[in-house]
């Protein structure tokens, strides 16, 4: 077949031929075609199957409102389900497949559903499939799930990239039909920053599909000339293939630009699509209108489409949908289709006009006061049955039928802030209501202004009003035909089904049943019948459904009301909403100063928030992670180990009130801390729960350096700013984060001082730099550095910091100069082992649910001063003397394994919640002790030290006898760290 239905004219490039395939068969088309126009040009009307009854379907539209002609576009990892053939731009090599059918589009086994449709009435599934109970998941639902759904999804990663971007303008014009073009021209000539966005690949809107003139040119030529002028204006940005998907708060609009969807694959480095966030001063919705069909029996056959779509295919794409065409209309617009098709040489065999009187086109048979009541042609329209004004029926052989039931303004974006459209009886359609998005004006057909003249005028007026301009350009002359329409929603006749929502197979019978069962509110109607819930979101069918409900209930259409539209305007690929944030780029990485060194060593890294930290560094011959970690722990405790602790939050706190400020922030006192010393601090939330902990050093009279946990660095800083600005605004306190400014290393172990003495320029003997000392020093001959004598491991330990750029070098220098002490670098696992051995709380214990009392730190909360959380920490629920207490745990059998998250039970107690004693918060293997150890929160744990209990992990069927011990499991007297 070679474009048997191609006729003259149109805005396609006939000098180039594009090859494509549909369901494996080869076809040809031209640049400017959509997949639908090209298939229709090749005489293919059947393009899909409906959702429930698997009825054969062809396109009913020539735009994004299409419910029927959905295909799987492309293959392999780029396979896209549910692509509307009516907007898919043709490219050379395009491959498309029909979907939701088996084994083929023409012979679909599930077509049986259509025969059985009486059993599948609206909501039938709510009334059955209940017995026996277990059959739902096992039998009924799997069958339903397999049968449901439309297109299929690839399991492969989407190979294309997506971008995001941000644009700013005085005026966003949505839609580049006559109203939008005029608005953009008005604002553009006035020098305003304008963005004109249109979902189509060619601007002009309906002007491209019509034969009217604008000024002295055809509409399409006027549009092209206007676009050309706009393109010369530097203050105007023209965006084709760009769908404005939603109106969000305060003039922000989302838009998706399909950069590469018209290409076989995106160019290298280029995105498939871009999500634009557009910041606007004002916006004009000029999105046009969508025609609606008329419901009658078997109104869904391939070849039956919207009258305006028939016209568009002929005028814009040079395609006749059929050889013998009829039009069924209730308004003058249907006559236009007949006129245009006739002018194109298409055989228009009849105009069925439901109105009793009206214009008669010469050379065309008019049946006035008549209605189409049925059709034939399973895979494509063959004939229509017309009931004439006199009641007689006539069968007319046609292979295409245009339906014109009137036009619905595309109010969608205007209702994104939940503004309800209002019914305009003059055009028998809903128009934008009150309280739309602030700053959004509506022009043209979207506002119910249906003539070309009205579109141009309201476009101009809207731009003038939006931007408070004094004057706009002259209006070109254009047709200003009045709307002549007599409402006809639904032809009541016979026992067959009239489709309302074609994709979801909602028919007039379903609406009747909904009424009968009292699902009469529009929301109930929608939810019970699934009306308007298909991929087209009811753009063509909704109004008909509620008009029928209005009829059935005897209410008016305004009384019946309408559901509202929500974003997105048309469905949006999830990829573009995610942009670049996927795969490894889902979130940025944070790398420590020792990262490059560690990578050289073959370190294993672990994600800690966005940081990558060294987890352990395997040495040759180590095959199990535990071997590496045990070695790192033992080497540290034996001699000296170094750990990169840069990730801990560091906040510089200065000002004459810095000390007093910290007294409010921390549960314990800091104003009394001498200069040159540091102290462990416990920070509560206002609700009395522990928020964070860390050491804070006083570096000067009015200068402190706070340390936070890695996880809470950002939230603590935010909290400090809240306290400083909102609670105590008169305090003289200044804050800045220095987390990344300093590379900080923990140096721990009996030889820590000896190693540091090799690099530190000053005397750091125990006398000169005692436990909990802090100060500015220099290293390696004068480099500024900070030293803190603090320990998380229980060893003699320091944290030393240098400007980040020197971190790598300091580490290498320490390893080199201290080589005689066999220093090792340890990772977060060894760090965790040593802190658990020492009973220090960390992530597992700082869980946002625990108090200082739970942690055994109750005495740190000073009641002599006001601090955040002090008062509410005293509530009865938080001071229960039999509440959770931090304990140490060791297995009675040293070979037994413990698991963090296991729960405590008394010996002999049944594993039920009433006996739940608490849980293990952290567990490690202590190479020093030679067995697993753990920390846990145990009810009244402080009274149970020395007792034997069980811990159970019911997920793994483990039940282990343990001894409750002090959490300070290593060097409880602290002799080593003071050494």
């Amino acid at each position: 077949m070679t474009q048997s239905h191609r006729i003259a004219g149109g805005q396609i490039d006939r000098t180039k031929t594009l090859r494509f395939s549909f369901d494996g068969l080869p076809y040809q088309g031209h640049p400017g075609d959509t997949l639908a126009s090209a298939l229709l040009a090749n005489g293919v009307r059947l393009m899909g199957r409906s959702f429930k009854y698997h009825r054969p379907r062809g396109p009913i539209s020539a735009g994004s409102e299409e419910p029927n002609a959905l295909v799987e576009l492309r293959t392999g990892a780029r396979q896209e389900p549910n692509t509307r053939a009516t907007v898919a731009e043709l490219f050379d090599g395009l491959e498309a497949k029909s979907q939701n059918r088996w084994p083929s589009l023409r012979f679909d086994a599930m077509g049986i559903n259509d025969r059985l449709s009486t059993f599948f009435a609206a909501g039938f599934y709510y009334k059955t499939f209940m017995w026996p109970k277990s059959f739902w998941e096992k039998l009924y639902e799997p069958i339903i799930r397999r049968a449901a759904g439309l297109g299929s999804v690839t399991r492969e990663e989407d190979p294309d990239a997506y971008d995001k971007g941000f644009l700013h303008c005085d005026l966003l014009v949505i839609g580049a039909g006559p109203a939008g073009l005029m608005a953009a021209l008005t604002a553009g000539r006035a020098g305003k920053r304008v963005i004109l966005a249109d979902e189509d690949f060619r601007m002009g809107g309906r002007l491209n599909a019509e034969t009217f003139t604008v000024g002295h040119a055809t509409g399409a030529d006027w549009a092209a000339a206007t676009v050309a002028e706009l393109a010369t204006l530097p203050n105007v940005r023209l965006m084709t293939r760009t769908t404005v998907i939603g109106a969000f708060d305060h003039g922000i609009y989302g838009a998706v630009e399909r950069v590469s969807d018209h290409l076989p694959t995106p160019a290298k480095g280029k995105p498939r699509q871009i999500l634009w966030r557009i910041y606007t001063h004002r916006a004009i919705l000029a999105g046009g209108a969508t025609e609606r069909p008329i419901a009658f029996e078997n109104n869904d056959r391939p070849g039956i489409m919207l009258s305006g779509a028939l016209r568009a295919y002929a005028n814009r794409w040079g395609v006749k949908v059929g050889e013998r065409v009829a039009v069924f209309t209730n308004n003058d617009d249907g006559l236009r289709t007949a006129k245009d098709l006739q002018a194109k040489g298409v055989d228009v065999v009849a105009v069925i006009d439901s109105r009793q009187a009206g214009e008669l086109l010469p050379g065309i048979r008019h049946l006035q006061g008549a209605e189409v009541i049925d059709t034939t042609g399973r895979l494509g329209l063959k004939s229509i049955t017309v009931r004439q004004a006199n009641g007689r029926s006539e069968i007319i052989a046609v292979d295409a039928l245009g339906l014109s039931g009137g036009w619905n303004p595309n109010v969608n974006i205007h209702s994104h802030h939940r503004s309800r459209p209002v019914y305009d009886a003059g055009i028998t359609a809903f128009v934008p209501g009150r309280d739309g998005p602030p700053g959004l004006l509506v022009a043209g057909a979207a506002a119910g202004q249906m003539s070309t003249h009205a579109a141009l005028k309201t476009g101009l007026d809207a731009a003038v009003a939006a931007l408070e301009l004094s004057i706009g350009p002259d209006l070109p002359e254009a047709e200003d035909a009045p709307i002549r329409i007599t409402p006809l929603w639904h032809v009541a006749h016979g026992k067959g089904r009239a489709w309302i929502d074609q994709q979801n197979d909602v028919t007039d019978k379903d609406v009747k049943l909904a009424k009968q069962e009292n699902f009469t509110s529009v929301e109930h109607l929608k939810r019970y019948t699934t009306l308007g819930m298909a991929t087209d979101q009811g753009k063509t069918g909704n109004v008909i459904g509620l008009a029928i409900m209005a009829e059935l209930t005897g209410r008016s259409i305004p009384e019946t009301g309408t559901t509202i539209y929500r974003p997105p305007y048309t469905p949006v690929a999830l990829g573009v909403l995610a942009g670049r944030s996927r795969g490894k780029e889902f979130r940025p990485y944070r790398l420590t100063p020792s990262h490059h060194w560690a990578r050289e060593q073959g370190a294993v890294f672990v994600e800690v928030g966005n940081w990558l930290r060294t987890q352990w560094i395997p040495k040759p011959g180590e095959t199990e992670w535990r071997q590496s970690v045990d070695r790192e722990v033992l080497a540290t405790r034996r001699s000296v180990g170094i750990c990169d602790v840069t990730t801990l939050g560091k906040i510089d706190i200065q000002g004459t009130d810095a000390g007093a400020f910290l007294d409010r922030i921390y549960a314990n006192t800091f104003s009394t801390l001498p200069v040159g010393k540091c102290r462990y601090g416990l920070m509560l939330r206002e609700d009395g729960i522990v928020f964070d902990d860390g050491t804070t050093a006083r570096m000067g009279e009015h200068e402190y350096v706070m340390t936070t946990t890695t996880a809470n660095a950002v939230t603590v800083f935010r909290h400090l700013e809240f306290c400083r600005q909102c609670l105590w605004p008169e305090m003289d306190v200044q804050l800045i984060s220095t987390t990344e400014a300093w590379a900080q290393f923990s140096v721990a172990g009996p030889n820590a001082r000896k190693l540091l003495e090799k690099v530190v320029d000053q005397d750091i003997s125990d006398a000169a730099f005692p436990y909990m000392a802090a100060g500015n020093i220099t290293v390696c001959g004068g480099l500024r550095a900070r030293l803190f004598r603090i320990s998380f491991s229980g060893e003699l330990a320091y944290e030393i910091a240098v400007p980040t750029r020197y971190g790598d070098a300091l580490l290498r220098e320490m390893l080199a100069r201290g080589a005689e002490y066999d220093p090792i670098v340890y990772g977060t696992e060894a760090l965790g082992v040593m802190r658990v051995e020492k009973g220090h709380v960390a992530g597992g214990e700082l869980n946002g649910q625990s108090t200082a009392l739970n942690m055994g730190l109750g005495r740190m909360v000073s009641k002599k001063k006001d601090s955040i959380g002090m008062v509410l920490s005293q509530r009865e629920g938080l001071t229960d003397e039999n509440g959770y207490r931090l304990v140490g745990v060791k297995p009675v059998d040293p070979n037994a394994k413990l698991t963090a998250g296991s729960h405590f039970l008394e010996k002999g107690a049944a594993p039920v919640a009433a006996n739940d004693g608490g849980w293990l918060t952290s567990k490690v293997y202590s190479p020093h002790l030679g067995h697993d150890i753990a920390l846990g929160y145990l009810k009244a744990g402080d009274k149970k030290i020395g007792q034997r209990m069980r811990i159970v992990n019911l997920l793994a069927g483990l039940d282990t006898e343990v001894e409750i011990i002090s959490p300070h499991m290593f060097d409880p007297e602290g002799e080593r760290l003071r050494g």
Binding site: E141, G151, D158, L574, R587, L955
Partner: protein, 416 residues
């Protein structure tokens, strides 16, 4: 009228002429023994159980819009009882058990489908927390399994296992978790309540409460004054507005939660899944749409609509976890108002006003709670004492320091 497969066939063969209205549209009576404010899932369930389980009569449900128009009509349909804390787990497990017999109980197919829920684990700390949680669930009589990375991979081989920023390390699974056809829950309860004589009164907004000497007498509505011995408020999302009629301030903020559905697809995801390294959870409906959501927008709102940043954040989570869905299209977004409480857990309690009872603070977990919430609220209304599984849901828990804070976020509602 009883529903059954036979009935469906019989009606189909006789032109569906015999189907009766699922509920009446009665005018309000001058007074009732019980008024339930709110014709959403919780309110309807409360009325249903009051009538059915507690033998009460003279009950009305007052709904300002249409039945089932609250959050039961806009959610992501997940049921589960994978809670951690003693205050919560018995309640949600009770709820799950009620789900399991619900359809037979109210003779309506709500498509309760226990296809399982998995919470993905990406760090060792998350595994520890999942172990604690899974054990707590089992101790409370629920079901839980800890899945290894390989087990997850067997279930969903096309998740991002090889190029992930935060690799999947396993999952906590509750096989009995799943989804339910949400609207059908409201309709099933409404039908069951109506059949038991409950007056379901739509388009009837409560505009005031008549309180005399510390006791509720009735409510003012857009359809006139209606007297009542007891009034139960179940209007999550609007709790502060309604309770303001009684002069009460609540430990609750209203926030918007957006949810999303994709175009219909052939089966891709069998159960329910939550991403542990971002804000994303997803299931696939029987119709084929991916139903998913993420975090709340984060600011107080009654607008029932949200903004782009959260839509993007959710999509990022989705793409990070499931890189194959890049070309799947988002069809529709919507926004519901959440009663975000100060510890992330609900309140089912008496108030200081005699005869006035409150049910709210469901955050975004109210759907799964619907049966137990209704049952426990009915219990409280009928017996004036808390149901055993809802004893912790008291107003005074904040004063006493007995918060039920699953996430450990403290009194910051938008973080729960």
């Amino acid at each position: 009228m009883r529903y059954s497969g036979f009935r469906v066939i019989a009606e189909a063969l006789t032109g569906h002429k015999g189907w009766k209205p699922v509920w009446r549209d009665p005018d309000p009576k001058p007074d009732y023994d019980y008024i339930i404010i709110g014709g959403g899932g919780h309110g309807l369930a409360t009325a249903y159980y009051l009538a059915k389980e507690f033998g009460q009569a003279r009950i009305a449900v007052l709904e300002k819009g249409y039945l089932g128009g609250g959050n039961v009509g806009r959610n992501t349909t997940i049921i589960r009882s994978n809670y951690l804390l003693d205050g919560n787990e018995p309640f949600y497990e009770f709820s799950l058990k009620l789900w399991e017999g619900l359809e037979q109980d109210f003779n309506y197919n709500a498509m309760v489908s226990q296809r399982g829920i998995i919470n993905l684990i990406h760090t060792d700390a998350q595994r520890d927390a999942a172990t604690r949680r899974g054990n707590a669930m089992i101790l409370h009589g629920a079901d839980a399994r800890l899945l290894s990375r390989d087990e997850v991979r067997q279930m969903y081989p096309w998740l991002n296992f090889d190029n992930a920023r935060f690799p999947i390390k396993g999952a906590l699974m509750q096989p009995r978790g799943g989804t339910v056809r949400h609207d059908a829950v409201a309709w099933g309860y409404a039908r069951g309540a109506d059949q038991r004589g409950v007056d379901l009164i739509q388009n009837c907004e409560v505009t005031g409460m008549r309180i005399e000497n510390g006791r509720i007498k009735g409510v003012e509505t857009t359809r006139g004054y209606i007297g009542a011995k007891k009034v139960g408020v179940a209007v999550a999302g609007s709790s502060s507005k309604v309770m303001a009629h009684a002069g009460m301030r609540l430990p609750i903020e209203s926030h918007v939660l957006q949810a999303f559905v994709s175009e219909g697809l052939k089966p891709l995801i069998d159960g329910v899944m939550t991403f542990g390294a971002g804000h994303f959870y997803v299931s696939q409906s029987d119709k084929g749409g991916l139903v998913f959501g993420g975090d709340i927008d984060g600011y107080n709102s009654y607008a029932q609509r949200g903004n782009l940043p959260v839509i993007e954040d959710v999509a990022e989570g989705g793409m990070a976890l499931m890189p194959a869905i890049g070309r799947v299209r988002l069809l529709r977004t919507w926004g519901g108002i959440m009663d975000m409480s100060m510890d992330g857990s609900p309140i089912i309690d008496k108030t200081h006003i005699e005869g006035l009872y409150f049910n709210g603070g469901w955050c975004y977990g109210g759907f799964k709670a619907t049966p137990a919430s209704g049952w426990c609220f009915a219990h409280l209304l009928a017996k004036d004492e808390s149901h055993i599984t809802a004893r912790a849901y008291r107003f005074d828990r904040f004063l006493k320091g007995l918060m039920i804070d699953e996430k450990g976020q403290g009194a910051t509602p938008n973080l729960h």
